[in-house]
């Protein structure tokens, strides 16, 4: 008796194997790499059942985010550093229904947080590191930590060095929103406007 064929789905094996052979830079590969290090299939390391509850405001603000909804002007780039970061945090809440925001420096030290669980800081740092690729700018990553609760991690190059922004939002941010958030944080952290 054939020791293999009757036990395996040959077509399935060949399909899985073919996907593994595709090179990342292979033009024939599916263009699913929207974010560095992770693609659309990535929904996180933990299942929803074991996800930690996201602290912060009640669930209702999480309902506000709608992709494509127009974004108001980024926060004003004047005033003391922490004040500007607080403005930035408020703006994130208004525009993206962020239930919590924190910012880490390049060493992983927390430079701003508004009460989110410290485990998120560690997670964000790991995700930011995981998304690094040699020779490429670091992209954003997101992690599903519960039903309609996403930890969005966005490394941002600023005048203060690379900062890692972590935000708890109800849905992963589309690329144009990520770009807007990056620009807003970079402006808020700019010493020229302090």
């Amino acid at each position: 008796m054939d020791p293999l064929r009757s036990w395996l789905d040959a077509g399935e094996v060949q399909r899985l194997a073919a996907r593994l052979i595709e090179s990342v830079s292979d033009p024939a590969a599916p263009a699913t790499m929207g974010e560095a290090g992770f693609d659309e299939g990535f929904v996180g390391f933990t299942g929803e059942g074991s996800a930690p509850a996201a602290p912060g405001p009640a669930a209702s603000p999480l309902e506000r985010h709608e992709p494509g909804h127009p974004v108001s002007a980024p926060p004003s780039a004047s005033g003391p550093f922490l004040e500007k970061i607080r403005c930035f945090r408020d703006w994130m809440g208004r525009e993206f229904a962020a239930a919590g925001v924190f910012i880490l420096d390049r060493e992983g030290a927390v430079i701003f947080h508004d009460g989110l669980d410290e485990r998120f800081h560690v997670l964000a740092r790991s995700l930011a590191l995981a998304s690094r690729r040699p020779g490429a700018s670091t992209g954003n990553v997101h992690l599903k930590i519960g039903a309609r609760i996403i930890l969005e991690v966005i490394p941002v190059e600023t005048a203060c060095g690379c900062l890692v922004l972590g935000a708890v939002v109800p849905a992963s941010l589309p690329p144009e929103s990520v770009r807007t958030v990056r620009e807003a944080l970079a402006a808020s952290a700019s010493p020229a406007s302090r």
Partner: protein, 262 residues
């Protein structure tokens, strides 16, 4: 530095044997090689050093990344080969899901690269989860030893599914392919299983080189040596020299694309 994970879904397929002897083959070729044992069972250390139960190692670093890497790297009689044992922090094996230690695994590998190694060969525990998942998600390439027997090969679909999931986390991971181990040409079931797998998988997903089942491996393990260092081990060493050459070709830029085009 190239980080090469030697991993499999199933246990007992020869990961440690392949890792040790492949590391020896690279080192013999003048490649500065670091062999890292990330299997909490500590099989590499138990195979090569009498002091393995005393050595700090990989899991100690994960527990305390403040430990200087130089304290973990054990030199060998070959100038180009060093190893890191799995270490004493055995409780670690029970803790942490996948992704929990990614940053520390990467810090470990960056530290190894900074010490001038050309290749880091990482022997992992069976399965593609937990710390092994973090190692694979931090590696440049993976090779999969697979015992040439029907039961082992039936686990291949699960292996491929797991690798596809890990490749979502680490899209730059190059899957070098499956290396058949413990091949017994004189045993019909083993030969048939090997032949069937060759028919099933694309050619570029399988190494041409096969590792035979050979009593020399047991003898080498008993003496704490790579098989190539044994008297009479030259024949088996040639197998690993061949495997090394295949890996070097597969790691060349564009190798996968060329294989697809061909």
């Amino acid at each position: 530095m190239i980080n090469l994970a030697v991993s499999s879904q199933k246990g007992g397929v020869g990961k440690t044997t392949v890792s040790i002897n492949l590391a020896h083959a690279f080192a013999r070729a003048g490649v500065r090689t670091l062999l890292v044992d990330t299997d909490p069972q500590g099989s590499v250390g138990l195979s090569l050093t009498r002091q393995s139960r005393l050595l700090s190692g990989f899991y100690d670093f994960l527990q305390d990344p403040g430990i200087p890497l130089d304290r973990l790297i054990v030199p060998t009689r070959m100038e180009t080969l060093a190893l890191v044992a799995s270490g004493q922090a055995s409780d670690y094996e029970a803790g942490g899901g996948m992704g929990a230690h990614l940053a520390r695994v990467r810090a470990f590998l960056r530290g190894a690269a900074a010490r001038g190694f050309d290749i880091c060969i990482i022997d992992t525990a069976a399965g593609l989860f937990g710390a092994t998942g973090d190692v694979i998600a931090s590696s440049d390439a993976i090779m999969i030893p697979q015992q040439a027997e029907p039961l082992g090969i039936r686990s291949v679909p699960k292996l491929l599914e797991g690798l596809n999931r890990l490749r979502i986390m680490n899209p730059r991971l190059t899957v070098l392919g499956v290396c058949l181990t413990m091949v017994q040409h004189e045993l019909a079931e083993s030969a048939q299983a090997a032949a069937a797998l060759r028919q099933l998988l694309p050619a570029e997903m399988l190494f041409q080189t096969q590792v035979p089942r050979d009593p020399l491996f047991v003898r080498a393990s008993a003496r704490g040596l790579p098989v190539g260092a044994l008297e009479g081990g030259a024949g088996v060493q040639a197998v690993f020299d061949s495997l090394r050459a295949e890996i070097e070709v597969k790691l060349q830029p564009g190798a996968s694309s060329r294989a697809n085009a061909g």
